[in-house]
Symmetry: D2
């Protein structure tokens, strides 16, 4: 596997993590997930019905996509910890996407409760992937308490506004000892590519695909956008210049001609 | 061929048009061009030496990539028209990427000379693809005199600043009766994706690939970025929202569960 | 007069040029104009009724604000030239704000007709202030044919989108031998300040004031914003830094303490 | 006093709060502070030497500018609380600008320590003005523990990058029950105006003035920029439009003419 995403020692060929929220039907969701190439998909715990035929759980099992239970809808550390523990039993995984939001309007993470819940869950043996704001210090604290990755938002959930503060994401990447996954805010392909170009190790998105007019095509778009952004990051882009630079200067032409 | 780029009746599976400027070696250029998937590549006329073994011309012929001669280095309409005619004989094509720049510092198009040259060349039977600024009215005039496409800049040549004025590009697309190719300014993958999301029919770039630290990897990145941007455009992205929107609202969850 | 705006040898203490369009009443317009501190105000020629008591013309005369007739509504060079000549007779001034727009939807300047009209009017003895797009080459051509200033748009008329492409405005300023007035697109105070910080010599706006909920307060805001932007430009702002810099470093503190 | 800034019941005619860091000399600082019109100025506690003739403290006393001691250089809640208490004694004020930064490279606030220190100081009778990141939830928590204002950053200290995430600042304003002061990141006049247009109640800056090439002129610029931004906020700006809107439509002209 070339250039895999590695989280807590597990390797993933795809750097696109999908969510399932917003999907109008299971069938459409399945096709979109397959087209996206994702190998890791978050599921709201209350939606998961393990063992039920025809469930999202079954869909993921059938397609060998790893399920990542999340604690969506939790407002306090204790609520999130309890939900995570129930998820661990139900899904037989100690991985959890940790969400502790401050209210159900902004859906923004509560940094204090989040760090507290992360500490508790790490100490209880969980592999914790926290959804956080784009503050570099909060991200650092989450890594410091032992999270396996940090997942800052690009913009509030469901807004499709992209990466509102690229410098913060770049600062998190520069500072982070664990993988950085851009989570929330992605609206379209260029947003996902940009996140990867900023050095993120992966991108997590849901509604940008599930609520697009054509989810399957958008899933394909996101798969390629994440690959393109990763390649662009590794390829070493040209510097930004304030002044124009001819791609074919006269002397450059001459030199190249001589070389033929 | 699914969703081809059509210029003057010719179909191209790839929407990425490459330039050759800035390439340090012919061998590296060839690998990058192949990785980019391009089917149309611009060449500065003075650099083309048709019939010379080992030339760029030979490279393109061998790989069945169509050569698009350009008039780089021309400052007046008459100079550009003369150069285009020489190119037509040398390359046996009546297609031309028309460049008429105002000076060799800014490398910005001279709109008056450009429109004049375009008119002359169209009347002389050329298929004219003009490199223009991002002014919607200049683009309209170029289409009106019969250009086969319009190719506005995202930013000045070689700057890698991306699309500085997305609204102008979107306005050109909305208004245009011919294909719109974003030409110049692309620095990285997200720039190319954004151009396509704005509705451009294709992207033309050179130094973003040829001068990247790893041109081949960047070529692959750009191929996918253009595809991703095109798909995102066609897939119908989610609207931008100022307020958050839960991807997994409680009632949505309930409905989906019932549907299983 | 400290740091005056000088156009064609005439000095203005205020760098804010106002338009009158969009004003719901003459009374409100007068108060707003006075609050703005403007000394130069554009008027659509068809609106001017010189000699009529209670007209805009009278208002400007009474308040010793210089009237700058414009050629709004003209689509061709010949139409604009004719209108300018009528304005010269009616208003007894050879100054003209030259507008030649491509259509009445986009209201964008037609660069070819604009340059042509400017040349004709300059040759006929007019002091020409052309409303142009933000293309540096078009601005250069307008200066080259003898315009007394160039007035690039920040954004399309009436959009209030501010300065969409600051690099183009800065490039025009860097290149220009005549004053540069940012004309069109201003929505709020920070837009006007930014235009001045980019090096513009003045700002021209109308609807941002006349259609604000409180035009008089917005006029005051714009007056100060233009002054603030001019001062910021002259004061030499701190450089943008990617990394934080303590304003009170330990050694700095020590040094300052010693100095007391 | 028209439209004063009110913090903890105290009224200030000026909405510009100044810092003193970065000033090369006391004399220059005094002139700049006077030109800025500020009535409230932060001072690093270690720099304040109350009673010493020729000190910053003396300078502020002499000019009747209220001193706001800050806890710059503190990395933990306990350190900040201790420093604040020392400051209270030294400066005979229970107002404190609370800074608890995570490290001396990023100078970013530590949200957990900051909230903790704020709670302690509020309970101890301080009027707490905390320097915080731009996360709306952290700002809300600071208001909830009883802070008299919240002071989010526009960008990291000393960067001069302006307001990197205007939506976050607007969200803090929309949510806040206490005054919002934009603190840190301001580089030039348009940044300050923008902060006020977003609804901030005031702006706090230091190096943008003290390290400008001409601090006195920049101080004047900032005074006007803050006033302009405040007025623009209150005046009700025109909406942003995607399409052009003539300021002088034909029918509008007719109507206005009739009205004369």
């Amino acid at each position: 596997m070339d250039d895999p995403l590695v989280i807590a020692g597990e390797k993933f060929a795809s750097r696109l993590i999908m969510g399932t929220g917003g999907a109008p039907s299971l069938l459409g969701l399945e096709t979109a997930l397959l087209e996206s190439g994702t190998e890791l998909t978050t599921v709201a715990l209350r939606r998961v019905q393990t063992g039920t035929e025809g469930s999202i759980w079954d869909l993921l099992q059938r397609n060998r996509i790893r399920a990542l239970p999340n604690t969506a809808g939790c407002f306090t550390a204790s609520e999130a910890v309890l939900t995570a523990k129930l998820g661990r039993e139900a899904c037989e995984t100690n991985w959890v996407k940790l969400e502790v939001v401050a209210d159900d309007i902004s859906l923004l993470p509560d940094p204090v409760e989040l760090i507290s819940a992360a500490r508790t869950l790490v100490n209880d043996g969980f592999t914790v992937l926290p959804y956080t704001n784009d503050d570099p210090i909060t991200a650092r604290k989450l890594a410091d308490v032992g999270c396996a990755a940090v997942m800052p938002l690009g913009a509030p959930i469901g807004t499709g506004l992209g990466v509102l503060n690229p410098r913060n994401i770049a600062a998190i990447v520069a500072d982070s000892s664990v993988p950085v996954i851009l989570d929330a805010g992605i609206g379209t392909a260029s947003d996902a590519a940009l996140a990867m170009e900023l050095g993120c190790d992966g991108v997590l998105l849901a509604t940008a695909v599930t609520r697009a007019a054509d989810p399957v095509r958008m899933a394909r778009s996101m798969r390629r956008a994440v690959q393109a952004g990763r390649d662009a990051y590794l390829a070493g882009r040209i510097p930004r210049r304030e002044d124009a630079l001819a791609s074919s200067p006269a002397d450059g032409r001459a030199n190249l001609d001589l070389a033929l």
